[in-house]
C-alpha cells in the first residue's frame, strides 16, 4: 500500500523531468545556433560577390544551367508538347504559366478568387477552383481532364502518385521558396512545357527591370536601413525571414534584414517580445484578417518601443503580392512599392523628425 502514492508521485515527476531536460537541450542547441549566426551574417554579403564571378549567374541571380534542368526533370517526353489544360496547385506557378501565354484551367485558390493578384486575373478569364492548397480536391482536378499538373513540393508530395495517375504531373518548390528559387522554378516550368527559350527571355527582361529598380533603391534611405516583412492574422504574426520569398527579395535588392541570415525556416512565428528583439527600422505588414493579434499588441507598453513605431515606419502592404503570389510579376510590384515607400514616407518621417526637434 505504501508504494502506491510513491509511484503516483514519481511518474508525473519523471515526465516533468523529461520535458525539462528535453527543453533544456533544445534551448542550448538553439543558443549555439544563434551564437554561430552573427558570423555567417557578416559573411552574408560575400555570397553575392562570389556569385557574380560564377558564369551561370545573371544579375546576381544564380540560374540553373541546362544540364541542371535536365537532371531535375529527366523524363521530358512524358509531358505534352503544347499543354492546353494546365492545373496549377499554387499561385506561384500561375505567374510562370501566364508569362508564357498559357492559361490554366484549374487553380488551387482556397476558393478565394481575391487571393490572386490583378496582374494575373486580367489574363485569365475563366478557371475552376480545385479547392484549398492544403487538401485540394482530387475529384475536381480529375474532372478538368488536365494535360499537365504543377504541384507544390511541400504540400502535395503525399498525393504525387495520385496526381500522376490523373495526368502528367510535376512537383516543384513553392511554399517557403526564395526569390532565386522562384526564378529557378520558372525555368523548370518553362522546360516542362517545352518553352525554355521563351522563358529565359521572360526571365532576362524581368532581371533587367529588377536591376533598374535595385539601382534606384540604392539611392534611397532604405539602402542604409533594415526592413522586415511580416504577415499578421488573428492567430499571430509570422516574420518572413531571410530565406523566405519576401526576405530574400529584400536582400537581392541590397536591403538589410534585422534577423540573422542563418535562419533556415522561411516563416518565423513571432511574439511581440521577439519582434522587439529583431527591432526592424521599417516594418511592412500584410494583413490576413480585419482584426489581428498585432492590433492587440498596440496597447502594450512594449509596442511603443519598436523603432519602426517610434519613427512612424510601420507600413501596411498587400499580402497577395508580398506572400501569396510569389512570382516575377509580384517581385516587380514589391520593388516598385518599396521605391514609393522610400520616397513618400522618407519625406513624411523627415517632417516628423523636424516636428520632434521643434
Amino acid at each position: 500500500m505504501n508504494q502506491r502514492p510513491r509511484l503516483s508521485i514519481i511518474l508525473p515527476l519523471f515526465v516533468i523531468a523529461l520535458i525539462i531536460i528535453g527543453g533544456g537541450i533544445f534551448i542550448v542547441n538553439q543558443k549555439n545556433k544563434a551564437a554561430a549566426s552573427p558570423l555567417s551574417n557578416s559573411a552574408g554579403n560575400d555570397t553575392s560577390q562570389t556569385a557574380i564571378t560564377k558564369p551561370s549567374v545573371n544579375n546576381g541571380v544564380r540560374l540553373l544551367t541546362d544540364q541542371q534542368i535536365k537532371e531535375r526533370l529527366p523524363n521530358l517526353e512524358k509531358y505534352s508538347n503544347n499543354p492546353k489544360r494546365i492545373v496549377v496547385m499554387e499561385n506561384s506557378f500561375l505567374g510562370d504559366v501566364l508569362a508564357l501565354g498559357l492559361k490554366p484551367v484549374g487553380i488551387a485558390d482556397d476558393d478565394k478568387p481575391d487571393s490572386i493578384i490583378t496582374e494575373f486575373t486580367q489574363q485569365i478569364s475563366d478557371y475552376t477552383s480545385i479547392g484549398s492548397r492544403y487538401q485540394p480536391s482530387l475529384e475536381a482536378i480529375a474532372d478538368l481532364k488536365p494535360d499537365l499538373i504543377i504541384a507544390d513540393e511541400e504540400r502535395h508530395t503525399v498525393i504525387a502518385e495520385e496526381l500522376s495517375r490523373i495526368a502528367p504531373s510535376v512537383v516543384l518548390k513553392s511554399r517557403g521558396e526564395s526569390y532565386v528559387e522562384n526564378i529557378q522554378t520558372a525555368q523548370l516550368v518553362g522546360h516542362i512545357v517545352h518553352q525554355d527559350q521563351k522563358m529565359s527571355q521572360v526571365i532576362n527582361v524581368h532581371l533587367q527591370t529588377m536591376r533598374g529598380l535595385r539601382s534606384q533603391l540604392a539611392k534611397t534611405r532604405l539602402a542604409s536601413q533594415n526592413v522586415q516583412f511580416a504577415i499578421v492574422s488573428d492567430k499571430g504574426m509570422w516574420l518572413h525571414g531571410p530565406s523566405s520569398y519576401a526576405g530574400s527579395l529584400l536582400s537581392y535588392l541590397n536591403i538589410q534584414s534585422p534577423i540573422p541570415k542563418q535562419m533556415d525556416v522561411a516563416y518565423i512565428a513571432t511574439s511581440l517580445e521577439q519582434l522587439l528583439a529583431a527591432d526592424p527600422d521599417w516594418l511592412l505588414i500584410g494583413r490576413y484578417n480585419d482584426h489581428t493579434l498585432y492590433d492587440e499588441w498596440k496597447s502594450s507598453p512594449l509596442f511603443n518601443q519598436l523603432t519602426a513605431v517610434k519613427k512612424n515606419q510601420v507600413i501596411e502592404v498587400d499580402p497577395t503580392y508580398w506572400a501569396l503570389n510569389r512570382s516575377m510579376q509580384s517581385a516587380e510590384h514589391m520593388a516598385t512599392e518599396l521605391l514609393q515607400i522610400a520616397k513618400r514616407k522618407g519625406g513624411e518621417s523627415a517632417s516628423m523628425s523636424s516636428e520632434l526637434s521643434n
Binding site: 502506491r4 511518474l11 479547392g131 487538401q135 480536391s137 475536381a140 498525393i159 525556416v265
Partner: protein
Amino acid sequence: MITKTTSSSSRSNSLSGRKPARRVLGLIIVMLLFLSVSSIFLGASELTMGQIWQNLYQGFSGEKDFIVWQHRLPRTILAILVGASLGLSGSLVQGVIRNPLASPDLMGISAGAGFCATLLLVMIPTAPTWWLSVAASLGGLLAFCIIMLLAQVSQPTPARLALIGVAISAFLASGINFLLVIYPVEINTAMIWLTGSLWGRSWQHIPMLTVIFTVLMAVSMYLAWRLDVLGLGEQTAYHLGVSVKPLEFTTLLTAVVIASLAVSVAGTVSFIGLLAPHIARILFGHQHRILLPASALIGAIILVTADLLARSLFAPIELPAGVLTSVIGAPYFIFLLSRYRGW
C-alpha cells in the same frame, strides 16, 4: 407491424428476443451498403448515374476511371475499414476495462500511435509504409501501457481514468506538434495526423488493413463469449473457467493493434471508438457475439458518412473527416459525463 408479430409468434420464445436484433443488424448492413454506394455516387465531380455505372463496369480502362476507381472507391473502402477498426477496438477495450468511457482515443492509443508515426516520419522520412504501421502499433501500445500503469497505481473511478487518458493524449498531441514545429515535415502529413483525414489515401493502404482487420475480427469473435463471461466480474469469470489475465491481455493487444493501424492510415479520427460501441450497446445489448460486429459496422457507417460530408459539403474545399466526427462525438462525450453522476 402485423406481419412482424405473426412471424415472431410462430417461433419459440427463446428466439423471439434475438429476432429483432438480427433485423436491426440487417438494417445496419443495408444502411452501410446504401451509404457506401452514395459515397461512390456523390462528390465534387458531377457525374451522372449512367457514367458511374459505365465506369464501374468498364473497370480501370474507363474514361473517368480516376474519379470512380482510383478515388471514390478506395476512399470508401478505407473509410469502412478504418471506421470498423476503431469501432471494434472501442468495444474490445470497453469489454475488458468495463468502463463506458474507454475508447482508443481516450485511452491514449490514437495519440501514441500518431506520435510514434510522426517520430518515424521525422527521423527516417524514407522509411517504407509498413514501418509506419509497426511504429504506430508500438506507440499505441506504449501509451496504453503508461495509462494502464497509472490506473494500476491510482485505481481511478471511470471518469478519472478518462481524465488520465485525456491528459496523456494531450501530452502526446503536444509532442506531435512539437516535432512538427522543430522538424518541418510536409505540412499536410501533419494535418492528417492531428485531425484525421482520408485525403490522399489510396489503394496502397487497403490490402494490409483488410488482412489484419479480418484476422483480428476473427480473433475477437473467438474471444466474444469469454468477454461476456468476463462481464460478470473477474472472480465469476475465473470460477467459470476463463483464464482472466491472458484473456484481458489478448483482447487489449488486439484492440491496440487494430486501432493503431487505423491511425497509421487515417490519423487520429476522434470519438468513433467511443460512439460506435455505445450505439451498438443501445441497439443490441451486451452480448459480444453481436456487439463486436455491430460496433464495427456502426464505426464504418460513421466514418463513411463523415468522409462523404467532408469532401462534398463545401466542394471543392475538403474538410478533414476528423473534424466532423468530433462535432458529433464531443457533445456525446459531454452527455455521457453528465449522465452518470458520482464518478
